[in-house]
Amino acid sequence: MPSQIDLAARNKALDIIKNSMRSLVEQISRGEKPILVIPKRTLANTIYDLRKKMLLLGPEIQHRSFTDVNEAKKFMQTLLMASIIFDALRNNEYPTIRDLYYRGKHSISYKTIDGKHVSENTWEEQRESDGVIRDLEVYLSVLREDLLILSKEKGKVVGNLVIRSGDDTIDLSKMGHGAYAIEPTPDLIEFVDVDAEYILVVEKDAVFQQLHRYGFWRKYKAILVTSAGQPDRATRRFVRRLSDEYKLPVYILADSDPYGYYIYSVFKTGSITLSYESERLATPSAKFIGVMMTDIFGDSVFRKIIKDKDARKTLEEIAPGVSELKPKNPYLSESERSNFVIKAKTKDLERAVELVGYKVADVCIEDKDVKNKIKKKEGLTGYPWFSTPEWTRELCIFFNTLSKLEIEAMASKGLKFLADKYIPEKLSIGDWID
């Protein structure tokens, strides 16, 4: 028997689908061609909202008309998906996106005008039906979680937090060595009681477990969350809600490499492919606490680079104030660095160029061969939210040293160091990037 909150969510979703479909049927019965008005989910229509500090869908709208030959199939697919989801909602089911793919996949057989018998599938691959789900989310302006669609989730949380999930009340401070797995429908969670000063999101599950066993969250009054890699929707929504509802600051601890930086960016501003979800999933106030390049190398490398007038000028143009940042000392010694640091791969370099643009790479990379490897990325200007003095300095050091470092390395220096020095010290002196 579904919980009350579950049933209420179902009824709400059923109404949303019904209402929008009713207007389509009204169009049809007036003899008008039915049109789905959908915000465009294209890269070109993804904009970075400077005020809200997140990636959002732009103002562009597409009119998906059933009578348009190029749109007819997508129109049919969108309605087919709506009907399957509607059916699942009504029958108290929790389909996954894979279930929806299978439920909607069937062949339409017809006789062509030449009298040939032809058969085509409603959709072929799951990629196609997944796209239709995204279209439907945008069209109905609801998230799939609101439609009770489940996806595989991997986020975990522990801390001084009591929640109600379904009909149960769960105390997240009493999870033993385990943790609470964030449910796929975080909007159905009710926060009952919170006693914490901030939320620490750790990219790596292993580091999360180490900090958990060390008692970090209890000692420092933190809610400890891990996304176990690229954050899924539920984890992002959970963090966002908790931060919003209890005004808790959010700190992200990720690897010191372009992938780690991007994970932070997804938490903070949203992802490019799912920008329509940012309003509900992104946490614009999230801060990157580490691991920073300056935590590893300090800022001497960077200061050496900007001694060159041209380099300094170029970098100042990209991120004004970059040459006047506060000086910083490394947390690692020379020998620790040589032990823990990993050499960056071409893919890391390319990703980094995507983040801050080609010019920073051009100024900061010394090795000519390496420069040639990323030549094809010339012209890229980077994402606006990475064009800050802090990130410019971080990525410049990355380009110059061609090094990256995993959080685990910080733990290897000593869990005590990570838990009792590195994190608390950075928090207390405000050594983060916003």
Partner: protein
């Protein structure tokens, strides 16, 4: 010139043919039977449609001997008939016409039928039988005759007459020849088929030796305008004609003779021409010397201020008749025809008519259209490769530009009518490349083909519209089902679904401009499979 006349005098025309029968189309027994049928049928047609009578032509081919390959060919028409006193010469003497007027007809001076009579005489020795009567005659006349080859004279073997019980008019000619029917048959059938295409106003029946009946009934009641006899155009004449004219005239002066014997020839023109030729207009025609006649004919041919020759002597088929014939023959998807305006070459008026048939049962042209050639309503079956019509079709028309790519079910019919068809050689099966004619043929083909192009491009557009409709219509049931699932209770679901299907069908039909039925069909086919 005088040497040429020597040749004609030394050998009788009958004897000449007797020796050179291949020239007239009697080269072998198969060709002979085909040629015989042609000559008799064309005479029959000349006796009917030329005189405004809708033709009824009956052809009977019968095995006439048990052991030898003798066939009796009988052709009956409902034409004007032949006066009995003319019959012996008309069938028994190879002669030139004594008329000095021209009009479009199939045969020239009835030469062909005498060759048939001679060929019958040569191969089976049997005489020609003729039964004829004109409208208004009280009797029907009967003749059995042969030709005295050396004297070029008819020999009447039997003659008689009987009372007419009804107002029958026409001619029945029957000859017995040696032939190879089995080898000729397909060619004869093709000849009749092609003849029927341009003669949809005729009833044509053929009874074969196998007792098969081939019947092309009359399908239109309109007839081509009959040709009007006209005087020849001075540019289209020759010395032979002029010679004959001056010898047989009653006119006192050459000027009068010219004015009254030719079209486009008034007093001023006649005087100017005679001045160029250095001949006194008052001269008596019969007293002109051969050299003077030669100067005169040259002056007539080089004078360049004539009006063009009159086309009244021509009898074009007309667009409707060509279209009717093509429709019957091929049941085509697209058919059209054009009658070009009259034109002229060397003083001879001519009209080019072009028909086009596409699709349906139209035969497939592998690398060019199937070409049906006609000269004065006679189908041309042989020597296609050397014909100017074939050359135009192959060389002068860029078929690609007309959205036609081969192989294609495309027939081009070209009919050239003229008081003098410029045949290539003596076989009368292929038309020579005369620039004026070639141009008209080209323009005619281009004109009808443009129409086909428009039709094809419209068809492509309609096809596109149908494809578009199909691309949308196939999703109607799924869309309707989805909406109904969301908006209707279980017991109303089917009603709503059907209602949405019906509405969407109308919307899609309206949007694409395609018929409701077509969209219904696609939707139904899905419903049936589901």
């Amino acid at each position: 010139m005088s040497e040429l006349k020597e040749v004609y005098r030394a050998v009788s025309p009958a004897e000449f043919f007797y020796k050179y029968r291949e020239i007239a189309g009697f080269a072998n027994p198969a060709r002979a039977i085909y040629q015989t049928i042609r000559e008799l049928v064309e005479n029959a047609l000349d006796a009917t449609d030329v005189h405004g009578i809708p033709p009824d032509v009956k052809i009977t081919i019968r095995k006439a001997d048990e052991t030898q390959d003798f066939y009796q060919v009988t052709v009956e028409d409902n034409g004007i008939g032949i006066p009995p006193n003319i019959v012996p010469n008309a069938f028994g003497k190879v002669l030139f016409s004594s008329k000095y007027v021209l009009r479009q007809s199939r045969g020239m001076y009835g030469l062909g039928v005498k060759m048939v009579v001679l060929y019958a005489q040569m191969t089976t020795g049997r005489p020609v039988e003729v039964i004829t009567s004109k409208s208004g005659y009280k009797r029907i006349y009967y003749f059995k005759l042969r030709i005295d080859v050396n004297k070029n004279e008819p020999v009447v073997i039997e003659a008689g007459s009987w009372r007419k019980t009804r107002d029958w008019h026409g001619t029945i000619v029957s000859v017995t020849i040696e032939g190879d029917w089995s080898r000729a048959k397909s060619r004869v059938l093709e000849y009749l088929h092609r003849t029927a295409i341009v003669l949809p106003y005729a009833n044509i029946v053929m009874l074969t030796p196998e007792n098969e009946i081939v019947y092309y009934p009359r399908i239109v009641n309109t007839m081509p305008r009959p040709p009007v006899e006209t005087r020849p155009h001075p540019q289209g004449t020759d010395l032979e004609f002029l010679n004959s004219l001056v010898k047989n005239t009653d006119f006192k002066t050459i000027e009068e003779l010219l004015i009254h014997s030719f079209q486009s020839m008034g007093e001023v023109t006649a005087k100017q021409i005679l001045q160029v030729a250095g001949i006194n207009p008052e001269r008596k025609p019969s007293e002109l010397s051969d050299n003077e006649l030669l100067s005169l004919i040259n002056a007539m041919k080089t004078y360049d201020k004539y009006k063009p020759p009159s086309s009244r002597a021509l009898s074009p088929l007309g667009e409707e008749i060509i279209k009717a014939g093509l429709r019957r023959a091929f049941n085509p998807e697209y058919v059209d025809a054009v009658s070009r305006r009259p034109s002229a070459y060397s003083g001879h008026p001519f009209v080019v008519e072009v028909g086009i048939a596409y699709g349906g049962n139209t035969p497939i042209g592998e690398d060019k259209p199937i070409v049906l050639r006609y000269a004065n309503k006679i189908p041309l079956l042989y020597d296609e490769a050397t014909d100017v019509i074939t050359e135009v079709v192959k060389e002068d028309i860029s078929w690609d530009n007309y959205m036609i790519s081969f192989p294609s079910p495309l027939v081009i019919l070209v009919h050239v009518c003229s008081t003098k068809i410029p045949f290539k050689g003596v076989g009368k099966e292929s038309i020579a490349d005369i620039p004026e004619l070639r141009k008209e043929i080209k323009l005619g083909i281009m004109e009808v083909t443009r129409g086909l192009k428009q039709y094809l491009s419209k068809k492509v557009k309609e096809e596109e519209a149908r494809r578009k409709a199909e691309a949308v219509a196939k999703y109607i049931p799924e869309v309707a089902r989805s909406l109904a699932v969301i908006l209707a209770d279980e017991n109303e679901l089917n009603t709503l679904r059907k209602e949405i299907i019906s509405k969407l069908t109308t919307i899609v039909a309206k949007k694409t401009g395609v018929s409701l039925d077509l969209i219904h069909g696609i939707v139904k086919s899905i419903e049936a499979e589901a």
